[in-house]
């Protein structure tokens, strides 16, 4: 790498202090009196600290200043233009000095919060003189409307966290994935252990990797993020890879509007995620674990951080875990406001200190994932299923659910229901029954958004749908990430659909033409539609845009960016019912 060139902008003491605390004193680049400029290996070795460094700069100064960025980029040996490209990618980082000091209130305007009155909340805050930014889904749909506050020198804050957590289903014997919610103390390892914690890891160490992989495959577990890839096959590929270095990544960047399950898992049962990642580590021969967690989840981050520290202190992370000859440890990376970073390869780039732009697949993560090395990437819900499979055995695990969708599923029910929240139910439960569990529809049911912004709208005729992967596919809908957003007839669906289109316009990374321009054109056409619905030419254009995004985009964001819009058009949700 060539010598880097920096502008004259200098960091102030606060910024220097923040970055030095990240890399350790003295800054990594100093060896004796010499400033060491590294080659490619050093660049790779430290660049993954770029995102944490940007968080520190943002928090210490309220924005990423040219001087602060220069200092961070020099310490990590990242070209300043690239560091700026990364900083300007994320919503939670400001690259211009804020005109107005004081805390920044981010209020969610996505569907669940919109129907719960986020517009009124924004008005109220603005009238009180607060600085307000409209935000995409903050993953608090169970207590909408949601707010997230950034303030100079203070930890990021979700006011609703102070009110205590809402559990619709307290731990009960009928529950599997949620069995410890509200029962154990999430900060206490002993409490976790006294409720079955670390039993699965001991079983895994006893039976050995091959048996774990066999059980996982036999269980039929598939990924709970939406794509539904068989988890056993994923782990087996990485176990078979011969690389010296492999990784286990927990994708806790859940940003799909209407989804909040992984937040609640990390807040209520953080040790379960750590234990499951450790099992993945010893089973696949990976020593490095990473949790990439949404920047908007401060409480989950805090509890997970504490849980990792206490697992490490008890010899359950680090070298020779639980007395075995395996080593495994976990690092946390906080996202900074970018839906696209939930896409697995964008997430890898984000950890590596690059822009969160998805990579082309193949190669797949199992062969070329984080740092180009074989990687298992699963979300927390998928991971904690592994504990259930090992604890109960495959037969008991498969006793619930259907043949093609075994086990239970977490659903995030929000919008117009009596008790919005997280619900665990065996696969195959009819949609209507799930809504009853959630307190029933408040008002008269108009439509349901299945799977968030990337999902599809369905009408009341789908209440009999058994919630399984196969039934959803057969009836042309999706379970997606498990988000179920309910709309009564009081809702103007045009507003909801236009908001979803705006969401994709804002969240497209901009890398490929079909998605970068397609999401913008789709939103423009929707803004032009009258309340009679689209005319033939508008519908044709929307269909054409949908086809190119779905066919030719690089990643899943582009592939699904027209999905909800198209389903709304097919259901006639954009025609205002004037009767």
């Amino acid at each position: 790498m060539a010598d880097l060139q920096f502008s004259d902008a200098r960091a102030d003491d606060e910024e220097i202090g923040a970055i030095d605390s990240l890399v350790g004193e003295p800054a990594v680049m100093r060896q004796g009196e010499r400033l060491v400029r590294g080659g490619l290996s050093r660049r790779r070795a430290s660049r993954h600290l770029l995102l944490p460094g940007l968080h520190l700069l943002q928090n210490s100064k309220g924005w990423i200043s040219p001087g602060g960025l220069n200092y961070l980029a020099e310490v990590l040996q990242v070209p300043p233009a690239e560091a700026y490209g990364v900083a300007s990618f994320y919503d939670l980082f400001e690259t211009e000095e804020p005109s107005q000091p004081g805390p920044r209130h981010r209020v969610c305007v996505d569907p669940s919060c919109a129907v719960a009155g986020s517009a009124e909340l924004i008005l109220e805050l603005r009238e009180a003189g607060c600085q307000v930014h409209e935000s995409p889904c903050l993953g608090q749909c169970d207590r909408a409307p949601a707010m997230f506050i950034q303030e100079l020198g203070k930890p990021d804050n979700v006011p609703a966290d102070a009110d205590g957590l809402v559990h619709r289903q307290q731990g009960s014997p009928a529950l599997r994935l949620l069995k410890r919610f509200g029962v154990t103390d999430p900060s206490d390892l002993d409490s976790y252990r006294s409720h079955g914690g670390y039993n699965a890891l001991n079983l895994a160490l006893d039976m050995g990797p091959e048996a774990v992989l066999d059980q996982l495959t036999a269980s039929g577990l598939s990924g709970r993020g939406g794509a539904g890839f068989p988890t056993g096959r994923k782990w087996r590929s990485v176990a078979a890879a011969t690389s010296e270095s492999k990784h286990i990544v927990a994708n806790a960047d859940e940003s799909e509007p209407g989804t909040f399950k992984d937040r609640l898992i990390l807040e209520n049962d953080p040790f379960a995620v750590i234990e499951a990642m450790t099992i993945a580590g010893v089973t696949t021969g990976s020593r490095h674990g990473w949790v990439y967690i949404r920047g908007e989840y401060p409480l989950a981050t805090e509890r997970l951080t504490r849980a990792i520290e206490s697992a490490r202190a008890s010899g359950l992370l680090g070298t020779n875990i639980a007395g075995s000859n395996h080593s495994f440890d976990i690092e946390i990376r906080r996202g900074a406001g970018a839906y696209i970073c939930g896409e697995e390869t964008a997430l890898f780039n984000s950890i590596e200190g690059r822009r969160g732009e998805p990579r082309n697949k193949p190669p797949f993560p199992t062969t070329s994932g984080l740092f180009g090395e074989p990687t298992v990437i699963n979300n927390p819900e998928t991971l904690i299923n592994v504990l259930e499979i090992l604890d109960r055995g495959v037969d008991e695990y498969r006793a619930l659910g259907t043949d093609l969708s075994p086990g239970t599923k977490l659903f995030c029910v929000s919008g117009h229901v009596g008790s919005p929240g997280l619900y665990e139910t065996p696969f195959g439960t009819p949609l209507g029954q799930l809504l009853e569990m959630a307190g029933g529809v408040t008002g008269s049911l108009q439509s349901i958004l299945m799977g968030g912004a990337a999902g599809r709208f369905v009408g009341p005729e789908m209440l009999d749908l058994p919630l399984t992967l196969e039934d959803a596919a057969a009836r042309d809908t999706t379970l997606g990430s498990g988000a179920i957003t309910v709309f009564s007839t009081e809702v103007d669906m045009g507003n909801i659909v236009r908001r979803l289109a705006k969401f994709f316009r804002d969240e497209s990374c901009g890398q490929c033409v079909p998605c970068r321009i397609g999401t913008t054109r789709q939103h423009e056409v929707l803004l032009q539609i009258t309340d009679k619905g689209p005319d033939a030419a508008q519908r044709q254009l929307l269909d054409d845009i949908s086809a190119v995004m779905s066919d030719a985009s690089i990643c899943g964001l582009g592939h699904t960016a027209a999905s909800a819009v198209q389903s709304a058009l097919d259901l006639g949700l954009l025609q205002a019912d004037m009767s």
Binding site: M1, A2, L4, Q5, S7, P66, L69, P79, P80, A81, E82, A83, Y84, G85, S88, F89, T95, A338, R355, N360, R505, D506, E507, S508, C509, G510, Q511, C512, V513, P514, R516, I517, G518, T519, T520, R521, E524, Q528, A537, Q540, L541, D544, I545, A547, V548, S550, D551, A552, S553, I554, H559
Partner: protein, 288 residues
């Protein structure tokens, strides 16, 4: 790679069987078979970024279309390079670009726009890229209203050629743009004025100041232009140069991208150090 390591794979491109060495991309295989596939962000002297998606083709048994510029041939696969879905995607991509950017100085894109029959009238007041042209020096200008974000300039400035890393993509989504840190002017940045970004730009968003001035003053005359090949006179490397001239005035310097010495890339001297050619001839004063 030694001869015996090379194994071959066979693919069907539009029902024609093509046998190629392992490691060949679908685009290369198609070109070997005489099949044309349009590309915008691909260049033979840069790593494929797969961003424009113009080169997508349809592979039998695969849901989404695949980028032929980077996808390697796998034995036995069948691809269609001109199916309805492929043509639709290309047409939409060309409509998207033409509705966003000024493509008037890219002959290739204009040709494709016509052959794929794009219809711009159906876009009612689309948001455009209306960036003002950046003129910061006498060497080249940056007219980002023409920029289609193909990433070529970023790659040429970075790992693929110059390793200056003066520019990167900043921002996100429709607002993504090529930028220095905090949009500082190029002379303040790490730019070394090799002009390799100008050399790879497919839409003339980056162009020599001389060319820009000729166009601005309405003196641009393609019929009076010619290209002269020569060797750079500055050092011993021997870079091949193409001098693009209009009425004997150099307005652009390039190097062939398949040239074994340059791979199309030059340094500031070869690219911009030609003013002496136009200097008034030195006449030693005669002794009287």
């Amino acid at each position: 790679m030694t001869q015996q390591d090379v194994s071959e794979v066979s693919v069907h491109i539009n029902d024609t069987a093509v046998t190629v060495e392992q490691g060949t991309t679908l685009l290369q295989a198609a070109r070997l078979a005489g099949v044309e596939i349009p590309t915008l962000c691909w260049a033979e002297n840069l790593t494929p970024v797969n961003a424009c998606r113009l080169c997508v083709v349809e592979q039998e048994g695969t849901r989404a279309l695949i980028p032929s510029c980077s996808r390697l041939c796998e034995d036995g696969i069948r691809v269609e390079t001109d199916s309805d879905r492929v043509r639709h995607s290309r047409r939409m991509i060309l409509e998207f670009l033409a509705s966003t950017n000024d493509l008037s100085q890219s002959a290739e894109l204009q040709e494709w726009a016509e052959s794929y029959q794009i219809d711009l009238d159906r876009y009612i007041s689309p948001e455009k890229n209306n960036d003002e042209v950046k003129i910061e020096d006498d060497l080249f200008v940056r007219a980002y209203d023409r920029c289609v974000l193909c990433y070529k300039c970023v790659e040429a400035c970075g790992d693929d050629a110059q390793h200056s890393f003066a520019i990167a993509i900043a921002g996100r989504g429709f607002d993504a743009r090529v930028s220095t840190e905090y949009e500082v002017e190029l002379p303040e940045s790490a730019c070394v004025y090799c002009g390799n970004c100008v050399g790879v730009c497919p839409t003339n968003a980056l162009q020599f100041k001389v060319e820009f001035d000729l166009r601005e003053s309405d003196e641009w005359r393609p019929e009076d232009q010619s290209t002269t090949e020569t060797i750079c006179s500055y050092c011993g490397v021997g870079c091949s140069l193409e001098l693009h001239t209009q009425n004997n005035q150099i307005f652009k310097v390039t190097s062939p991208s398949d040239h074994s010495v340059t791979s199309g890339h030059l340094c500031i001297k070869g690219r911009f150090g030609w003013q002496y050619v136009h200097a008034p001839k030195y006449e030693p004063s005669k002794k009287s």
